[in-house]
Point group: C2
Chain length 211, copies 2
Amino acid sequence: MAAKRPKDPRERILRAAVSLFAQKGFSAVGVREIARAAGVNSAMISYYFEGKTGILKDILQEFFARYARVFESVDYSRMSDEECARALIRGLVRFVRDNTDMALVCYNELPLDVPEIAETKAEKMAAMISRIRGLLKKMGLDPENAFLLSVVGLSLISSIFAQFRSRPVLTRLFGFRFDDDYFDRYAEAIATLFLKGVGELSRRGGPRSQR
Amino acid sequence: MAAKRPKDPRERILRAAVSLFAQKGFSAVGVREIARAAGVNSAMISYYFEGKTGILKDILQEFFARYARVFESVDYSRMSDEECARALIRGLVRFVRDNTDMALVCYNELPLDVPEIAETKAEKMAAMISRIRGLLKKMGLDPENAFLLSVVGLSLISSIFAQFRSRPVLTRLFGFRFDDDYFDRYAEAIATLFLKGVGELSRRGGPRSQR
């Protein structure tokens, strides 16, 4: 996964932290370990960030800025409701595919208790749900119904994340190859399930050819 | 949440660990902290378990034993496919409600890299998916289609877990009260979404009265 190493030390620290947090979990990783992986001195981390929690905060900020862009990139005006939903789900799957480690860190850490960033987390979570609300309203859900919006919104987001979270185990169990074709079929299956339910997915026999 | 404290020290250690792991994440918690919360000596933990990882292993075992019982408790023979799905989803939501901390620990830790228990995790994950496969076959999904079974299975399981994971944030954001009525409506909404898709949920205006 290691692309060309950026020159900017701040960027190097962030990348190393994202990768380590995704693999071991935020609390299992120490500042020295991040410094070592980033090829910088520990003091450099204190210079750029408010400690390890500061790094996590920056990762959350960056992640949600990118997440917001996915929603902005779908042009609702020329599409039917169903096309909108499919385009957005496709966009979200690609987004998580292209930012897997970062997405997993945010998804895994959001429910855990890290008091220093409780505020940031609640705020980001609210933004996450409120972004998806636009789609749900378009799909006919009553916008006043906070219960239903949160159930359906979180359900959809979790479904999109599920394969990414379980990737190592799925590779081990079924030998799936996580290539572009896989993710396209994945997005299509999630969209059909979300729009029409499992019955429709059965009738179609699933999206295109299967393994 | 602290019910009557069990006398058995092994049980006390397990309960304390489950609660701490759920709150802070497995790797953020030390053996001494568990001993303190359980009111036992650290040496007692070494006596009963192979360290902290041994405790996690036992939690996984216990969790999946209980999970299996949910599937065994649903009598498929007298129900339609849809009734089966609803009964099973209701059972799973109640199961997670009654074992929230334990369920969150297992859900959160499954994708993380703890080499000592990689084997146990893969095995449990396979069991988790294979249990849900029975339902999916019943719903008409091609049992040879591993891709679709894993996408739909993990999607359903993640949807069931989603509200539990986000409970503190949802309470903060929307003031939801997580009582029995809430979880019944939750199970009903997830089941409708799974069976018929978001369109049907919109038409029905969601399960019963809403906040």
